[in-house]
């Protein structure tokens, strides 16, 4: 019942959170690095808006899904580096399964014949 009311913003927000968590699973990154990784890995399709990225990072930090730390980067700059917490890993797992359910469901709706054939 609840899924029916998923609105666009919520979906996007959740998606960004998930993307951040997923990207961080490959290792700690700073904000800029995150946005670059997401862009490259999505084949330059997903461009993360800085105005959404940092509020999202701080929100995830507040929820203790990620942890932040100041580090000195390769070219001697102080940057804030985020890494996944164990709580964040758990969250990522559940979000991924939710996401695959959701995308399967959407795929089913978009392509009914194929999904019937599968069943």
């Amino acid at each position: 019942m609840k899924e029916r009311y998923l609105n666009r913003i919520e979906l996007l927000q959740g998606t960004l959170d998930m993307l951040i968590l997923q990207t961080l699973q490959w290792g700690p990154r700073h904000g800029y690095g995150l946005s670059q990784s997401i862009r490259t890995n999505s084949g330059e399709i997903l461009k993360v808006d800085t105005g959404s990225l940092y509020p999202a990072l701080h929100r995830l930090e507040k929820q203790k899904l990620i942890a932040a730390e100041w580090k000195v980067s390769e070219n001697n700059q102080r940057t804030r580096v985020y890494k996944l917490t164990s709580k964040g890993k758990k969250q990522l797992r559940s979000e991924r399964s939710r996401w695959s359910q959701l995308s399967e469901a959407i795929a089913g709706v978009l392509d009914p014949a194929k999904s019937e054939g599968d069943a």
Binding site: T50, P55, R80
Partner: protein, 863 residues
């Protein structure tokens, strides 16, 4: 504070994080071959509005409202600092009110309201009346348990020297009334009570700790009470100590010899109740119901004993224990609280007035803010946070003041008020006073906000605008000032009357000379089997020891120490064959008692050493009693038959009424018996020594103690004080009350003056322009001076008239509550009013002088 610091750090970090993002983005672009300028421009455009990002991120931190509040408070602090004098006045004025009220309430809470820790005040009742010993035998439906007790002082020793302690003889169910169990050991049984031979005792926690270091070995140990050995069987918990500071409880003896407790000790109980009954109500029975039943019982007793010579109490009272304890002090404490509340009220009025004055000055600021688009709620909120700051700051200082006052009261308060030592700063009262201070601040903050919101914005912002306006707040301020002066007048009148009554009391002719007399109490121990002659010999020996003291004028002995809690009690006298014709207080004396006390003979002779058991029984009476015979000289040679020892006594001398100033009582008849002619059965074991000297008698104490040591065999010499001190001690409570009230009145007047000063000074500041015009048009500085002074005086006179009006209107009420004053002293009122008026003149002089010295050109340009 830590939050602010932490937050600032977060803020800086966010900034750095975004900067590093920007740097890295630019670097990437440069690496891809763009010029650094291009790259930076592009990155900046891509990152978007940094301010907005920060704002959104901050929202995620979720402290937006808090930062707003912090901002408001910071602004409030800045406003307070901008006008330090005014702010200090505001804060102090509120702090004094908060402190005074909280301290007084704390006292009341401890003395009157706080239930005893071991007592269910809804169930444990004291039954008052005379001769209630048989009450239990009559049966009662209202009470589950009725227990007898009798309290007083005795000498207690374990080994070596004795100490004076409070003791109680109680029935075995006494502890059950309170529902207390001993910490260790047991309480006595009914068998032990009835027999009266089992010498067992239950001791208090304090005694257990000091004498036995709280060791269980106390059980079974022997303690000597008035030199009789008792076995300790139990220890009461520390929270239980009733009545007063009882150190030891022993079984009451029914009909047998009692412990001879001295009634001169303070027992936290109204006197005139030698034997008391305490009981716990049955569940569901109201105090009212119990009273009705007791009255019925009393009437039954009356009918039963009609025609016999058994006395039946004329009234019977049922009151909760705590209420009985504080009965004497309750009303006076509440008046003091009312006085403190008046001070708080004045403080609030003051604060409101000063805030209003400032609000008027800031109307333009408010108008500008409104024009610039500030929400009204935002402005009100800001004003509120300023008031809040004021209230909190003054409450903090008020707490400090309360604490000081409480410490002072504990140290210097009258000793006879029960539980005064338990006074602590009361949190509820503090919160209440804080609430009042807050309410005053909020009202004062809302008024200018309200006024500014009704203002025509255009007119208010206009440079000429605010000057003429603000009549509403000005009238408000004046009303407030008049109100606070009126309040101060009422307080001053009250304090004046109280002080006057105290002065009158101290002026009462005591009829004796209390100067240079040392009094002390001793408890000479004689075996119960001792013959009267042995007591006579011991008292003689004590007097003999006094001979040769440096500067000795006279030394005497008396059974009851002067101005001790209870008098010696009274007996009915049969005169001229008429039964019980008079009731007189009795006293037993020996040696040069009358000279030592300073009572001159009016007629006849004093009691002499030659009045002994073998000679005719003689007494000296006082003037009041002699009045029954037609006067001092007529009384000589007449005979009295007294209720106690019976026998006929010949009146040989008359002395003036030695008045106790304490209770403003009318002098009562008094009979002085010679110790030598009366059985120890009637005199009890108490003895006080009076020594009159030619110099300061206090220096004699060590010498007297030394001389008494071997006569008294180490039994204690205690309550050593001069007769002067005893007289003063007896009025300690009214003295303390009057002084406190006077203190409050003084503070009230001071605050009222601050209020007048504030109002006049602000009005002068506001009217600088007008004053300049007047000066420019030819007004002399003298005229300006008069103008400003006139304004202040008008307010003051209005306040005084209002205050006096209220005082006179409630004259009857005020007189009845104020320490029994009967005559309204107009002089006090006149002095108080004129003092207030001249002080106002001083308070107004400063701003008035300032106004008269204004230079017209400066004033006209004044903005």
């Amino acid at each position: 504070m830590r939050f602010l610091f932490w937050r600032r750090k977060r803020e800086e970090e966010l900034d750095e994080e975004l900067q590093s993002h920007l740097r890295m983005a630019t670097q990437d672009r440069v690496e891809r071959g763009e010029t650094s300028e291009q790259a930076e421009q592009f990155s900046r455009r891509q990152i978007g509005n940094v301010g907005l990002i920060k704002e959104t991120t901050r929202d995620i931190w979720g402290w937006r409202w808090l930062t707003d509040v912090v901002q408001d408070l910071r602004f409030g602090l800045r406003m307070l600092r901008k006008n330090p004098g005014l702010s200090a006045l505001l804060i102090l004025t509120l702090a004094v009110g908060v402190g005074g009220t909280t301290a007084m309430y704390s006292v009341i809470e401890a003395v009157v309201l706080r239930p005893l820790p071991y007592v269910d005040d809804t169930r444990v009742m004291v039954i008052t009346g005379e001769n209630l010993k048989t009450l239990n035998e009559w049966g009662t439906q209202s009470f589950e348990i009725l227990a007898d007790f009798r309290a007083g002082g005795l000498d207690l020793s374990f080994s070596g020297s004795a100490q004076r302690v409070m003791a109680s003889e109680t029935s075995e169910n006494y502890f059950t009334v309170f529902g207390v169990q001993p910490v260790i050991g047991r309480v006595y049984t009914s068998a032990e009570v009835v027999a009266g031979r089992e010498r067992v005792a239950v001791i208090a926690d304090a005694l257990w700790r000091t004498e036995f270091s709280a060791s269980p070995e106390a059980i079974g140990a022997t303690v000597h009470l008035n030199e009789i050995p008792y076995t300790i069987i139990g220890v009461m918990p520390s929270r239980f100590s009733f009545p007063g500071k009882t150190a030891v409880w022993v079984p009451i003896t029914k009909g047998g010899q009692s412990l001879q407790l001295s009634r001169s000790e303070q027992v936290d109980f109204p006197s005139m109740m030698n034997d008391r009954v305490i009981g716990s109500l049955r569940p569901g029975i109201s105090v009212e119901a119990a009273r009705v039943e007791m009255e019925g019982l009393r009437q039954r007793m009356e009918r039963f004993y009609a025609g016999t010579n058994v006395g039946v109490t004329s009234r019977i009272g049922v009151s909760p224990v705590t209420r009985i304890l504080s009965a004497r002090y309750r009303s006076e404490l509440y008046y003091l609280l009312a006085a403190a509340a008046c001070v708080l009220l004045i403080g609030c009025v003051n604060a409101a007035g000063l805030l209003l004055a400032r609000g008027a000055v800031r109307r333009r600021e408010m108008a500008v803010r409104l024009v610039l688009g500030a929400g009204r709620w935002r402005i009100v909120r800001q004003l509120l946070s300023e008031s809040f700051l004021l209230a909190v700051l003054s409450t903090l200082i008020g707490v400090g003041l309360t604490w000081i006052v409480v410490v002072l009261i504990r140290a210097y308060g009258p000793a006879d008020v029960p539980r005064l030592s338990e006074v602590t700063v009361n949190t509820n009262a503090l919160l209440f006073a804080l609430g009042i201070a807050l309410a005053a601040g909020i009202l004062a903050a809302l008024w200018p906000a309200f006024v500014s919101s009704t203002v025509q914005l255009g007119a208010a912002v206009h440079p000429e605008g605010p000057r003429g306006a603000g009549r509403l707040s000005q009238r408000g301020r004046r009303l407030l000032t008049v109100a606070e002066i009126a309040l101060a007048v009422i307080l001053a009148a009250g304090a004046g009357i109280a002080l006057q009554s105290l002065r009158d009391t101290l002026k009462i002719d005591l009829n004796f000379q209390p100067e240079r007399v040392l009094t002390m109490r001793v408890s000479p121990k004689l075996p119960r089997s001792a013959k009267p002659a042995e007591g006579v010999a011991l008292r003689r020996r004590i007097l003999d020891e006094m001979q040769g003291l440096p500067g000795l004028i006279a030394a005497g002995e008396v059974a009851n120490a002067p101005f001790s809690q209870d008098s010696g009690g009274g007996w009915f006298l049969d005169i001229d064959g008429k039964l019980a014709a008079a009731f007189a207080e009795i006293e037993f004396v020996e040696g040069d008692y009358f000279s030592a006390y300073g009572l001159p003979l009016l007629a006849g002779r004093t009691l002499k050493g030659s009045d002994t058991d073998g000679t005719e029984h003689v007494v000296v009476i006082n003037k009041t009693l002699a009045g029954l015979f037609g006067g001092p000289s007529q009384a000589i040679g007449k005979q009295l038959h007294v209720e106690g020892p019976g026998e006929v006594w010949q009146i040989v001398g008359v002395v003036p009424d030695a008045r106790a100033i304490e209770a403003y009582t009318r002098p009562r008849g008094q009979v002085y018996f010679p110790f030598t002619q009366i059985s120890p059965k009637w005199t009890g074991g108490d003895l006080a020594i009076l020594v009159r000297a030619s110099g300061d008698p206090s220096g004699l104490e060590t010498e007297i103690r030394k001389r008494l040591a071997h006569v008294l065999n180490d039994s204690p010499v205690f309550q050593v004080r001069t007769l002067d001190a005893a007289v003063l001690d007896s009025v300690a409570t009214p003295r303390f009350n009057s002084k406190t009230l006077a203190g409050f009145a003084g503070v009230a007047i001071l605050l009222a003056l601050v209020g007048i000063y504030g109002v006049v000074a602000f009005s002068v500041a506001q009217r600088t322009h007008e004053i300049g015009v007047r000066l420019a048009l030819g007004a002399s500085p003298g005229q300006i001076l008069r103008l400003v002074l006139g304004e202040g005086m008008k307010l003051c006179v209005a306040g005084i008239v209002t205050g006096l009006g209220i005082v006179l209107a409630f004259q009857k009420v005020i007189l009845s509550v104020l320490f029994g004053v009967k005559v309204f002293d107009t002089l006090t009122l006149v002095i108080a009013s004129s003092a207030l008026l001249s002080a106002t003149l001083l308070a107004c002089a400063l701003p008035a002088l300032r106004a008269s010295r204004v230079h017209p050109t400066v004033a006209l340009r004044y903005e």
